[in-house]
Symmetry: C2
Subunit: 391 residues, 2 copies
């Protein structure tokens, strides 16, 4: 028998899922989700469902608990677990290790195996937690996402990332685990508060800026309607934004981010620092709006982005009711802003080399490996002046 | 702007890694591991290494701690974390949630990012724990496996599964995460105790029985040498067994086991129950040996496997010093053996339908969806008689 120095292993894993768009998905007459579940049915295996819901959604839609139970019980091909687990939403749920173990416990208790599904209903944080608990149970129970915010319907909920925080480090524990399916229900958006409605739009601005000038122009035209909570305009925004994110993940050749390129993180390096420094009193989307403004002014200062384009970006964000500036961008006691100082921390986080997406033009992002802190401080000062003038 | 009912996502993820064979890999003159690390080096990112070692290995090879540190410090392209983490080996380490969090903590503390590597040195349990901690940190830090037992070098260590136990449920928490590379060092096998040396061979018997009659025949010829701890024969066994496992994972079309077929679990359904009922006082390989014996006799009883083939299987296991029988296979107070009763539990575990691999012939496994408990009890009784006679 012959042996050699090494054996080479190589294989591919295929992933596929659909993101559906509808509204009132749990109305008995809406068959979209039921039809999908029936498609998955097998004569050989009982498919059980465990529903985990965001407490805030339950409160905004008090009829929903009964409706959800009735809806799933009417699908004879699946078996709903006797308990729906209701958990607090928002970033806090990702800080609570006990909540993670509560979900793993429930997956065990209700015999949710790899033929079954965990269904998360809620904002991005709840979906991140639910997806992670499912991903590591039995080495990968499948999960269905029902995102209830603009941000989760057009960005985080349609992608492949799941995770929780660990000792205050955002998403330190997590997994790349594509959902089995995503159901975007526009009706959930009607009860969002004004800040969440607005903040969710920023990821559409972001992805348009780096990939799709026509979408950016469409948003300029629709900005007034979007700010006035026009649902038709919002559904279009959510659809196109989700589509661009999904195309990037599926078509970029690196869905699980083994490389260093993260164009979808445009505007995010300073946003993450702002969120942390404000103890998450800024919404993620608000922080990203400021981050996009900062990096757009910076791109203009280094000669990448022309001034009219920069002004169009700042104007659109303002029309959407989104902030461009925060006092933490100011120099503090003569030293660089703590947000801008965060650049060095971000470089460390990336493993020693910056890779940041900046704009060459509207619809055209490109990577840069260095940013000048003095110029960044100047960009921050420009945003302060603009904001003071416009007030 | 047009929108539709759904967006279809689909993409592939490619995985590749090498399993190397050598001995004394941490001797300064052995360049295999150093060369691999240099291959991975990048001018842009510092690659840090965190080593997690099995206490038992450290005790059997007291020179190793200094040698490992010196070896990695000599590779200028990487940066060894200032601490080597030594943990207890064996199944117990997978039951200890605190140990999991200790590893995650160390990954955080020593800034092990997605350009860096966690290196596990130890038996299968340590590697399962280390691989899982790495897999969920930063949504996937890469890990290198240095398996130190026959079982981990020819089976668990060369595959894609990682995990820990949760509330006594084996591998309840886990992830499919291929290693970045595996380094099999034959020298570690020289210090194994007799039970571990023997028990590790059973996975080679298993995979030969379902896939490769020639390998089975080779083992029949080498059985005396293998039992007498002939290292040349053992290296051949480990290599071919690893190769067959890797071919199955890479070539089977379902590396992350999304389907129901698990031919590599041949002999394992009763083995898992035996391990549990004996509180892991039986080695995994010993339990699998009994499981293979039971399912081989059963296959003969239902007319799948001819009697001479069945006898060859039992004979080879015996020549290797492996057990064929355990008193828990007996009827207890007139009722079916608790091991055999475990079949129903296993069916539940699979989601309601049995899929079990049995032998049609040596080298030819096939699936069956039903097993007769009365015939299984009869198979257990036959093994008892054989064992009593042969003693």
């Amino acid at each position: 028998m012959q042996i050699s120095n090494y054996i080479q292993q190589s294989f591919q894993v295929n992933y596929a899922y659909r993101v559906f768009f509808s509204d009132h998905i749990f109305e008995p007459t809406n068959t979209q989700l039921a039809a999908w579940l029936r498609e998955q049915a097998s004569p050989h295996y009982r498919k059980r469902l465990l529903v985990v819901a965001d407490d805030g959604v339950w409160q905004s839609h008090p009829y929903l608990q009964a409706q959800v139970s009735a809806y799933f019980q009417a699908v004879k091909e699946v078996e709903l677990a006797p308990e729906i687990i209701v958990i607090p939403g928002g970033e806090a749920c990702k800080n609570d290790e006990a909540l993670f173990f509560r979900l793993v416990d429930a997956i065990d208790k209700y015999a949710i195996d790899r033929h079954s599904f965990v269904i998360g209903i809620g904002g991005g944080s709840v979906l991140d937690l639910v997806g992670f608990a499912a991903a590591v149970s039995h080495r990968g129970v499948r999960h269905i996402r029902i995102p209830t915010t603009v941000l989760s319907q057009n960005d985080s909920g349609v992608g492949v990332k799941n995770g929780i925080n660990f000792k205050g480090k955002k998403n330190f524990l997590g997994a790349f685990a594509p959902p089995a399916a995503v159901f975007n229900d526009a009706h959930f958006l009607t009860t969002l508060d004004a800040r969440d409605w607005r903040a969710g739009m920023v990821e559409a601005v972001k992805v348009a800026l780096i990939k799709d000038a026509a979408f950016f122009e469409w948003m300029e035209g629709a900005a007034t309607a979007l700010a006035a909570r026009d649902m038709d305009a919002m559904q279009k925004l959510v659809f196109r934004c989700a589509e661009l994110h999904m195309q990037h993940i599926g078509g970029g050749g690196d869905p699980f981010e083994s490389g260093s390129s993260r164009p979808l993180d445009f505007g995010h390096w300073s946003a993450h620092k702002l969120e942390q420094l404000t103890n998450f009193s800024l919404r993620h989307g608000e922080a990203v709006s400021i981050g996009i403004a900062l990096d757009s002014v910076y791109a203009n200062l280094i000669g990448w982005l022309d001034k009219p384009s920069m002004e169009r970006i700042l104007h659109l964000l303002q029309q959407m009711g989104l902030p461009l500036y925060h006092p933490l961008l100011d120099m503090q006691a003569g030293a660089t802003s703590p947000v801008i100082k965060g650049l060095e921390e971000f470089r460390e986080h990336l493993g020693g080399r910056l890779t940041i997406c900046l704009l060459k033009a509207i619809g055209q992002g490109a990577e840069i490996n260095d940013m000048d802190v003095t110029l960044l401080q100047q960009a921050g000062d420009i945003l302060k002046q603009l904001t003071v003038v416009s007030q």
